[in-house]
């Protein structure tokens, strides 16, 4: 406490102000254990103090916001580098408001800049703000208002900007903290949903990420180098090339044919098939049950379908949607080209929320007419299969408590709510909803790319803060059967959400303490199939 540059924790550490953003302190704020939103029930889940960031990180990168570091912004080493950081940021910000550079989101960004009334209605909708004990840093308006004031003063050069819109100190610390703040938001857009005016403060997070990526060349390695760039290089962010992925699927086909007693084979590169199914390739490595389940269901339903071994044709991820419009467009075009090459009638997405949104909604105004192939969610198709009578089901096999997490991209951002519900209502006698659900759901905490990040203490942060509201929702959904004795299932039909569930369950030992497991929706379908040996869902090793 003797060092004035250290965070003064004796004061109210949560009440940071816009005026603090450029302050010469080593840390702007912190979330203490006592701040965290309490969880329901008497079980002690044992949150711990923050794991300190490694010195190698703090020395190299500007870790000056809080206890976590996500965006690796090199710490400036001289006055010149400090100025360069600010000037590059301003250059990027100017481009955000230029139609040639940002036709993609200019309308939404400008209207959000000009019309927000700063009424703070959005704050209570934010699960991070609530979970952190209302730490000001997580208030949706905090980040967007800093951005807005910089815009009004330095980009729009509004007369009397300081008087009209409020002032903000712009220095390298402001820029570095704003960049990091853009990664303190799941971009789930629940805040935007509640805005009486229609402003979108979550979009501001994504636009800031774009400045860093598209102008300054700074993005998180998980999303960029090991994400979209790796996908464009070898075909998948998992690192699997076409040969590896085909080999893996062969193993999956063999293993699960034997295990389920249902002989199936996943088709590859079938020209003229009706359906090109694109999985999130992470499923193949982490959740092969999911991939096998799709193959079993599609084969049992007699569909004409195929996977593609073309570049990115077997991995539906599009990490660009989290941080970079150019990468978004490139990845979407690769997916469309893979479908075009095979001459399929439609693309169907496996259980991956952001991939659904990326290629169906966002790329709808990116893909040129020659590559426009219809894109469809797997859920209406699965509902059609389940209700078609082509497959016999025994719902008693799913007679355990089941709840369902709604991936934001599928529900709030695409309006796909009912098909998956029709399925669980038919096949899961003990299904219960989370509250709220559907378009008003809460993010799992892994949204906007966080689910694939586990550097230093990011996983800890995802569990303690971003995933806390979802954790509360899960516990409440199973309020009548808490504890380890009753096995309970969370259906999370999205790869990123599953990654977050996996880490939540491991971090808080929820398998042991609450009898919780998780997987997708197709696993429940196959588990109830009469033609498959009982026990497709594995309660013990679904990690």
């Amino acid at each position: 406490m003797n060092d004035p540059k250290q965070l003064d924790t004796a004061k109210d550490h949560k009440q940071v102000r816009i005026g603090d953003i450029g302050k010469d302190t080593e840390k702007l704020t912190t979330v203490k254990l006592d701040d965290l939103m309490p969880l329901p029930g008497d079980t002690v889940f044992g949150d711990k103090e923050w794991e300190p960031l490694p010195e190698s990180t703090t020395e190299k990168y500007a870790c000056i916001l809080d206890d976590v570091n996500i965006l690796q912004i090199p710490r400036p080493q001289s006055k010149e580098e400090e100025e360069e950081l600010v000037n590059k940021f301003l250059d990027g910000m100017r481009k955000l408001f230029d139609p040639q550079n940002n036709w993609t989101f200019l309308s939404m960004l400008e209207t959000t800049m000009e019309n927000c009334a700063k009424c703070n209605t959005c704050s209570d909708a934010c699960h991070l703000f609530e979970a952190s004990g209302h730490n000001e840093m997580y208030r949706p308006l905090f980040r967007s208002e800093i951005f807005r004031r910089i815009y009004k003063k330095y980009v729009k050069e509004q007369p009397l900007a300081r008087w009209r819109s409020g002032d903000v100190e712009l220095n390298w610390r402001t820029v570095a903290r704003l960049g990091e703040l853009a990664y303190r938001c799941n971009i789930c857009r629940r805040c935007a949903q509640t805005c009486p005016i229609g402003a979108d403060n979550a979009l501001v997070s994504r636009e800031i990420r774009k400045i860093f990526s598209q102008e300054m060349g700074i993005a998180t390695p998980e999303l960029h180098e090991r994400g979209s760039m790796l996908q464009m290089k070898v075909g998948s962010s998992t690192g699997m090339n076409a040969k590896a992925v085909i080999d893996n699927l062969e193993f999956i086909d063999e293993d699960f044919s034997e295990e389920t007693g249902y002989e199936f084979k996943t088709p590859w590169d079938v020209e003229g098939a009706d359906i090109l199914l694109i999985h999130n390739a992470g499923e193949i490595l982490s959740w092969p049950d999911n991939v096998a389940a799709f193959s079993i269901i599609f084969q049992a339903a007699g569909l004409s379908w195929t996977l593609s071994s073309d570049l990115a044709g077997y991995d539906n991820i599009n990490y660009g949607v989290f941080y970079d419009d150019v990468q978004t467009a490139r990845t979407a075009l690769l997916h469309a080209q893979a479908a075009k090459k095979l001459g399929v009638k439609k693309i169907v997405f496996g259980e991956c929320g952001h991939a659904h949104k990326a290629l169906t909604v966002i790329a709808d105004r990116i893909i040129p007419p020659g590559l426009q192939i219809p894109r469809e969610s797997c859920f209406p198709l699965l509902r059609d299969i389940v209700f078609s009578g082509k497959i016999k089901f025994d719902p008693e096999r799913n007679n355990f408590p089941v709840t369902m997490h709604d991936p934001c991209n599928l529900t709030r951002l695409m309006g796909i709510i009912k098909p998956q519900r029709d399925i669980v209502h038919k096949l899961c006698p003990q299904f219960r909803e989370m509250n709220p659900h559907g378009p008003h759901n809460y993010c799992c905490g892994g949204g906007s790319g966080f689910a694939v990040m586990s550097r230093s203490n990011i996983t800890e942060w995802r569990c303690k803060v971003t995933g806390r509201k979802k954790f509360e929702q899960i516990l409440n959904a199973f309020e009548d059967c808490r504890g380890p004795d009753v096995k309970k299932y969370i259906a999370a039909p999205c790869s990123n959400c599953k990654g977050q569930m996996r880490d939540l369950i491991a971090h808080y030992e929820l398998r042991e303490k609450e009898g919780l497991t998780y997987a997708g929706l197709v696993e429940l379908i196959v588990n109830a199939m009469v033609d498959v040996k009982p026990g497709f869902i594995k309660w013990e090793d679904a990690m």
């Binding site: 939404m108 819109s165 949903q193 979108d200 966002i362 219809p374 951002l413 796909i416 709510i417």
Partner: protein, 315 residues
């Protein structure tokens, strides 16, 4: 002084209309944006809007006729605009002040419309004790103080919240307080004018008749003229502030939040797509600023991670 008030009114109305149009035209001139919708989308058909669903729930949705309803959209939009439903649901303490403020303003617009109708009727020779004029007078007499009163109560309530609630205070700039003070002054003077000088709004109808006929006759009340000046200045000022949300909200809702029109049989979208893909971005990061690649189409079809020969094949 009266002439000044008349001229200022012409000027104020012109500024308001032109500035509001400028905002709208600027928005409409922006290039096509990507889809960024948020559900629930109320125009969705088949009962889907009721639970927040949309057409993407349908198998092979592109082969089915889209069921959309402008009436369902308006059935959400109008209560939202009139009663601030979102604030009521998500921020009740704010709504307690914001609703009377906004509704009072809407009633004030209604009052002005009535006064214009009354003035025109009188100009057309309707006797002041005729049914129409009498009705307008009696309704205006009731509507006016309610409108001014609601706005005043709301404006004071909003000011109190901005001053006392740290969550609002920390994000409020001088302009927020100025705006509310301006409304309090305008509505306060309007209330005072009604109470002391023009209880039946006869003077107001006369002033409007003068505006319509360009007969800038004198008005024998400084308080009335002050009311006119404040009202006109407030109106002209709105489009230059975030308060332009009162007309821009339509676009934020209709065009962005609910803009889920798919690119299926939509040549107008493809035409605009052709245009924007020809734009020339200047982003500087190395994976975007590719030598020789100028347009969005060039850049988006270039794979920065591929071996050089792979990109050559695609060119």
């Amino acid at each position: 002084m009266s002439q000044f008030a008349y001229l200022l009114t012409y000027l104020g109305l012109a500024v308001f209309i032109l500035a509001a149009l400028k905002r709208i035209v600027a928005y409409k001139r922006n290039p096509m944006h990507l889809r960024w919708e948020l559900y629930p989308v109320p125009h969705e058909g088949g009962g889907k809007a009721s639970y927040g669903g949309g057409y993407l729930e349908d198998l092979e949705w592109w082969n089915k006729p889209r069921e959309t309803s402008r009436i369902r959209e308006l059935s959400v939009m109008i209560p939202e605009m009139l009663f601030l439903k979102a604030a009521y649901e998500h921020n009740r303490p704010l709504w307690m002040a914001s609703f009377p403020f906004h509704f009072g303003l809407y009633l004030t617009f209604g009052l002005v419309a009535l006064l214009v109708i009354g003035a025109v009727a009188e100009l057309l020779g309707a006797p002041t004790d005729s049914g129409l004029v009498a009705l307008i007078v009696s309704v205006s007499t009731i509507l006016g103080p309610i409108a001014f009163g609601m706005s005043l109560v709301g404006a004071f309530g909003l000011l109190r919240r901005r001053l006392r609630d740290p969550a609002l205070r920390n994000y409020s700039a001088t302009e927020h307080y100025f705006n509310l003070a301006l409304f309090i002054a305008a509505m306060g003077v309007a209330m005072l004018t009604w109470a002391t000088v023009d209880p039946s709004f006869e003077m107001a109808r006369g002033f409007i008749a003068g505006l319509i006929t360009f007969n800038l006759k004198g008005v024998d009340s400084s308080l009335f003229l002050l009311q006119v000046v404040l009202a006109v200045l407030t109106l002209a000022y709105i489009p230059f502030t975030h308060m332009s949300h009162f007309f821009m909200k339509y676009f934020l809702y209709h065009d962005i939040r609910w803009g889920d029109k798919p690119n299926v049989n939509a040549p107008e979208i493809n035409e605009q797509l052709g245009e924007v893909l020809g734009y020339e971005p200047t982003w500087s990061a190395s994976h975007v600023a590719i030598p020789g690649k100028k347009t969005w189409a060039d850049i988006a079809t270039f794979n920065p991670a591929a071996e050089p020969e792979e990109n050559e094949k695609t060119e």
